[in-house]
Amino acid sequence: MSQIVAILISTLVLGSIYGLVAIGMTLIYGTLRILDMSQGSMVMIGGFVAWGVLVVANSDPVVALVAAFAATFVLGTFTQLISVQPLMSRRSDLDFEMVTFITTFAVAIVFSNLALQIFGPFQKDVPPVISGSVSIIGQNLSYQSLAMAVTSIVLMGALGLFLARTRWGLAIRAVAQDLDAARTMGVPVGRLYPLTMGLASALAGIGGVFLGAQFFASPTAGDLPLLEALIVVIFGGLGSLSGTLYAAYAIGFIQSAAIVTIGETWTLPVLYGVILLVLIFRPYGLRGNPSEARL
């Protein structure tokens, strides 16, 4: 019983944070048709911003969240402008997915190397956003984890509202569904693409603040979240927001169950094993469809 509760709690926490990081990748894939390999860097940068605000400047968590959001928004926009936008006009002449996979990966290499130069290879402890914990049926749930889950869920909800209700949110979905038609409506794609990537990066940056507090800030702190987000988006089917959400919690569950039952070291191999199986039987993920990866 207590194992089940532990698994469920952990599923909620892990699934929410995966969802937050992965939903940005889905947003980018749906709109720009690229797999953004720099998303992990944004998690890493979010962690360092949190460390800078909370430890160096000794300021409070809200400032850290806002600063991380702003910093990764700007860097995400910048990444799009240098690694994707210049290729946009040649979209049809090249293997756009592969080329942007490589260029965003190149940016990620540079970001983590720069972080290594600036902050050094050692892990930096980030204090929890909130301290204390609550007990649920005998299982400890730290406020930090709870805050992480709640913030992630709130942000994902806010993203959903933004996409459903606002002018720019509708424009993002319109571009994802029919680029030509959206342009004839007057949607400035030259501005919309970088902003979309900025927004997605900012979500990962927020995730980075929590992950940094959960673990630590380090130049490689984004690698694992990137892999996990990749697994989630592909498991859920690229470009499908609802698929991403299901997949985030499914992956969170698999991982939690693996941690609780067979131990920490086995979690990633189990995940990869599951992915191998899923891709063998469902080549486009749970909800994906190659021809209509739409938001």
Binding site: R167, D178, D180, A181, R183, T184, V187, R294
Partner: protein, 242 residues
Amino acid sequence: MTDAAPILDVRGLWAGYGDSIVVRDLDLSVGAGQTVVMIGPNGHGKTTFLRAVCGLIRPVRGEVWLAGERVDGRNPEAIAGMGLVHVMQGDGLFSDMTVEENLLMGAFPTTSWGARQGALERAYGLFPLLRERRGQRARTLSGGERRLVGLGRALMREARILLIDEPSLGLAPVMIDTVYGAIREIRERLGTTILLVEENFTHIGGVADVVHVVEMGGIVRSGSLEELSNDRTVVETYLGSL
């Protein structure tokens, strides 16, 4: 022809995809309040012409003037921002968005929320069917309903000129009448300047001020609908039948 400067003025336009040029040296002008119709068989460059005018493809040569400003070479969002509204072939609806969301996209350049809601009410007033379907996803609509959403969306913002690409394409005859009823409504009630493309004369009665016959990417005959449809050579040579 009106005396004032034309809303749309196209001079010596060449356009196509890659190496294949489909529009060859085409001249055309549309005056304010006019409805100009281009008629011609499939594959003779009408759709390509519209796509070149609205900026979706870059013309190879020639000039496009919109309300006295040269716009060829600009991107489609900039041209759209100048008041050119394009109802694309096959509607160009956002299939996974609802009818209302599709309509709101038509008003994207309007930044004020209130103004967009006003435009929405106006579109619903003109086409009450859209209000009934407002929450439905575009992909679940019938062909005729989709076309009406496309037209309604085009009315969501002030149009200096409205380009409509084959509104009768793929529709049942009853629906075609409804769609043309809507176009007539737009023309008469709103006085919108329209450039319309069709495959034949059948449906454009009572709509067209000027008709151009397009063949092989150029205009071969022009005149009023009456003149042209009574001209046996035009009908037989270019259109096969009425």
